[in-house]
């Protein structure tokens, strides 16, 4: 994946997080991936004009804030903690839809697979982001990981 595509995909995540969850991304380098206690990770496959998978990993410590912002409740509200994993999954679902439009435009039709989610330890994070299509971004001073895997290759440039 070239730098320009990485920036575009990173900006898709930033836009989604800002609009739905009121969290701000920073274009600068991501903070130390091991600076957090572990991540909530979610992934979804897609098939259609191209096939692949989009994954997102959010620090466990940020997931409840993500949920409370989306729901509009206090961060210490039990509802926020209970919704943390579901909130990450839903953000991934939204990001996936927008990444596909960003890469392929609005003509092709994609079918998404079922969402999967689980935990990713801080030790696993560097390998996760170093693999093809992986990136680490900075959101509100914390690392957020995004990976777009397309075995057939990512189309260059913005679709017309």
């Amino acid at each position: 994946m070239n730098e320009e595509t990485r920036t575009r995909i990173g900006n898709v995540l930033f836009d989604v997080l800002e609009k739905q969850a009121f969290l701000f991304g920073d274009p600068g380098e991501a903070p130390d991936l091991a600076s957090v206690d572990g991540y909530l990770a979610a992934s979804v496959t897609f098939a259609g004009a191209a096939a692949g998978r989009v994954s997102l990993a959010v620090p466990a410590s940020m997931a409840a804030e993500l949920a409370s912002n989306i729901l509009g409740c206090e961060p210490d509200d039990p509802a926020a903690a209970a919704a943390a994993e579901d909130a990450c999954r839903e953000i991934l679902n939204i990001v996936c839809g927008h990444v596909l439009t960003e890469l392929y435009g609005s003509t092709p039709v994609f079918d998404l697979g079922l969402l999967e989610s689980g935990h990713l330890s801080a030790d696993q994070a560097p390998d996760w982001t170093a693999s093809e299509g992986g990136m680490a971004l900075s959101v509100e001073g914390s690392p957020v990981l995004l990976r777009v895997e397309i075995p057939g290759g990512i189309p260059p440039g913005t679709p017309t």
Partner: protein, 158 residues
């Protein structure tokens, strides 16, 4: 009576004869709140999105930041008898004008934090004119809740 709300200031009033005005909203954001039942209104002019960049400054003047400023404004409205459910919110400013640090997205972030606070407080935005690059002046008429915008020689009701 006319009251001017300066940068990082607010004014709340229940006097139907009052008109609150704030001038030259650039990347700053102006928010008016009005309770048409109790006829209580308030206007704030915030500069920056989040107080956590300088908690000491925010303690000195919480109105400078959208997050702390909006909390103070809402509390002042409730203290004057406004009901959360009746509040009509209007938003202006948040232009894409470069700030002193050469950052372009201050306006956008100011607007996002306004939305965050209002969502948490269960208030929808009833009218807005944000973004772009024009400076705006915002007026709130306490007799009716009418919110008027003036920008580049043009007038507009929000």
């Amino acid at each position: 009576m006319n009251h001017t709300v300066g940068i990082a200031e607010m004014k709340v009033s229940a006097d139907p004869g009052d008109v609150l005005a704030t001038y030259a909203l650039g990347s700053c954001v102006g928010v008016s709140l009005y309770d048409p039942v109790g006829r209580v209104g308030g206007l704030i002019h915030c500069m920056l999105p989040l107080s956590r960049i300088d908690p000491a400054k925010a303690e000195k003047n919480p109105l400078m930041y959208v997050d702390t400023g909006m909390s103070v404004l809402l509390q002042a409205m409730f203290d004057q008898g406004a009901q959360r459910k009746s509040l009509v919110a209007k938003v202006a400013g948040a232009s894409r004008i470069m700030d002193a640090g050469g950052v372009f997205n201050i306006g956008e972030r100011n607007y996002t934090v306004v939305r965050k606070v209002l969502w948490k407080n269960e208030i929808l935005i009833a009218g807005e004119d944000v973004g772009g690059s024009v400076p705006r002046t915002m007026y709130l008429y306490l007799d009716s809740g009418r919110t008027l915008l003036k920008m580049a020689g043009e007038e507009k009701e929000l």
